[in-house]
Symmetry: C2
Subunit: 336 residues, 2 copies
């Protein structure tokens, strides 16, 4: 049985879509228990009662536009987000799923759950849209602005364990995002990270990957610092949005275009669906001592359902224990 | 009369497409003179003779895959690229256009033409594809890996002058690429650049721009360090390529899709054309004491023609003299 804490009030469409996502998950998975934190009255409006679901009343919620998340989280222990994270700390649940504001999630994870001993940083690790034939994990996308090479290596180890245990990818291929493919390219941090990744026994290293290969590289995992990862992710979002818009404009310019559209409506819908971030659960937060999945702020029920299943698989795969084993080996190696 | 030096041997399709681009430019613009550097016999195969075109024989060319451009340029003064750059230094031409390897262009510009006095760094400044209703300049995309905030400000000043003088945009709007729109976001360099850009009398500063707005922001100019700019540019290339491929796959999946394609073939061709980098001339190299335009390595005649016209406009707009005026004012301000 996997037990997850749910921040029922986080996200633009909370609590309705969040609770519906929970209903879906509970209906489909008999080995799942959920604890929903949030406004009891509102939650009960949408909740399908089930003995495997508990509701814990949280009188407050974190505002999506919160500008000072550290203060907010320190001073408001009775928000749904903080209470859900506290459940992990108190070992009442194995993982937490929230569609709350990213910065608040990162801060809450740090302050409440805390980092795994030996992990120097935490990383936010979303999955790229499923185009180019496979999905890929990109990290860090903004939990840290600047990183040292050894942080990047830990992230690559963690993401490798994640894919091995939750997706059955035996030896996930890791690429380092860089401005060129040759060894020796990039800033000092990139060159140092290249050398460490290449030597690391826990990592199947591919080499440098230019972001023009973001959706075509054979790599399963792409690592970089948080500033760069954030820029890369947002650029691909921006390009997809602009291209979609441009395509629409061009099609509606002529009558033939509009007629053509009628024929290929289903094809274009399927195209759009492949770019849909809701197909993917959410971003993992790697590095704290508990499973944390951050669903999209705009998550509807199905997206949130996917995020729940993602957290469930991470718990079942015992990815944190496996990362701890790597960390303790690396640390004892260093002590020799 | 504008006089430009042309590296006739640079680029994947040189010299044929390069020379054809020159023929086009000479045919259309009576106030243009060109000096072509390269293999005389090969050039003359494609050249339409004209009194405004001179050919200067260069016995060698720089290899596209050259791994040590500094050594290559120092030791091979008789390559078409080096000789074309030397013509600027010797004041025989007002600007140079080349489709040669980017790193070699940057190195040659530094070693042969040299930086404008007071310019701390040079920037490679391409134009983004014309989607989202307007084109935009992005810089730096890789002439430098790391930059200080004052370098970014100089780039913004230079690009502002360029758009004002060559495109008649009165007050080009400058955005700083960043992970968030609020003031105070980003790394130290970004925060410092924000503050300087805001106060600069030569810059019409918009504020931070997240790359998800890359093709929708009202900004004409987007500034960042060379590593980040390179990643952003390559990500948008990669996303465009992958989306085009995915669209194709989806359309060819069903018969209706294929029929629809027949109707909207022209619309899709026009869509593709809007993403075509050949519509744009090439990247400007800002900061050296001469006009340098780097055309795409894969430039065909029309793309190279556009790059020539771009260089011509920069010469006519006297952008270097105008930047020198800004630099001397800023420098004397600092001396007060």
């Amino acid at each position: 049985m996997v037990k997850l804490a749910i921040d029922a009030m986080g996200g633009d469409l909370a609590p309705q879509e969040i609770v519906k996502g929970c209903n879906l998950a509970i209906g489909k998975h008999e080995d799942l228990e959920l604890i929903l934190f949030g406004d009891e009255t509102q939650i009960n409006q949408y909740l399908v009662p089930n003995p495997r679901v508990t509701v814990v009343h949280a009188p407050k919620k974190i505002d999506m536009g919160e500008e000072d998340p550290i203060k907010e989280i320190r001073n408001n222990r009775d928000t749904s987000l903080v209470m859900a994270f506290q459940a992990i700390k108190d070992k009442e649940a194995d993982g937490v799923v929230t569609a709350g504001p990213t910065q608040a999630v990162i801060v809450a994870a740090h302050l409440i759950i805390r980092r795994i001993k030996g992990m120097k940083r935490v990383a936010l690790a979303p999955e790229l849209p499923f185009i180019g034939g496979k999905s890929r994990i990109l990290l860090d996308v903004g939990a840290n602005l600047e990183l040292r090479s050894e942080h990047i290596v830990q992230f690559a180890q963690f993401a490798s364990i994640y894919l091995r245990e939750t997706r059955n990818i035996k030896e996930p291929l890791v690429g380092l995002l860089n401005i060129g493919t040759e060894k020796g390219k990039g800033r000092e941090v990139d060159i140092a990270a290249y050398n460490l990744l290449k030597e690391d026994p826990y990592i199947n290293f591919y080499g440098n990957v230019e972001p023009k290969e973001l959706f075509t590289t054979p790599c399963d995992i792409l690592v970089t610092d948080g500033f760069t990862g954030n820029m890369v992710m947002k650029t691909s979002e921006g390009a997809a949005k602009a291209l979609g818009q441009t395509l629409k404009e061009e099609i509606s310019k002529t009558l033939w275009g509009k007629i053509g559209y009628l024929f290929m409506r289903k094809n274009l819908a399927s195209f759009k669906e492949r770019l849909n971030p809701d197909r993917i659960g959410g971003a993992n937060l790697f590095g704290v001592d508990g499973i944390v999945v951050k669903a999209h702020g705009s998550s509807e029920a199905y997206a949130f359902y996917n995020a729940i299943i993602q957290a469930k698989k991470s718990v079942e795969g015992q990815i944190i224990d496996k990362m701890k084993a790597v960390l303790s080996e690396v640390i004892s190696d260093e002590e020799l």
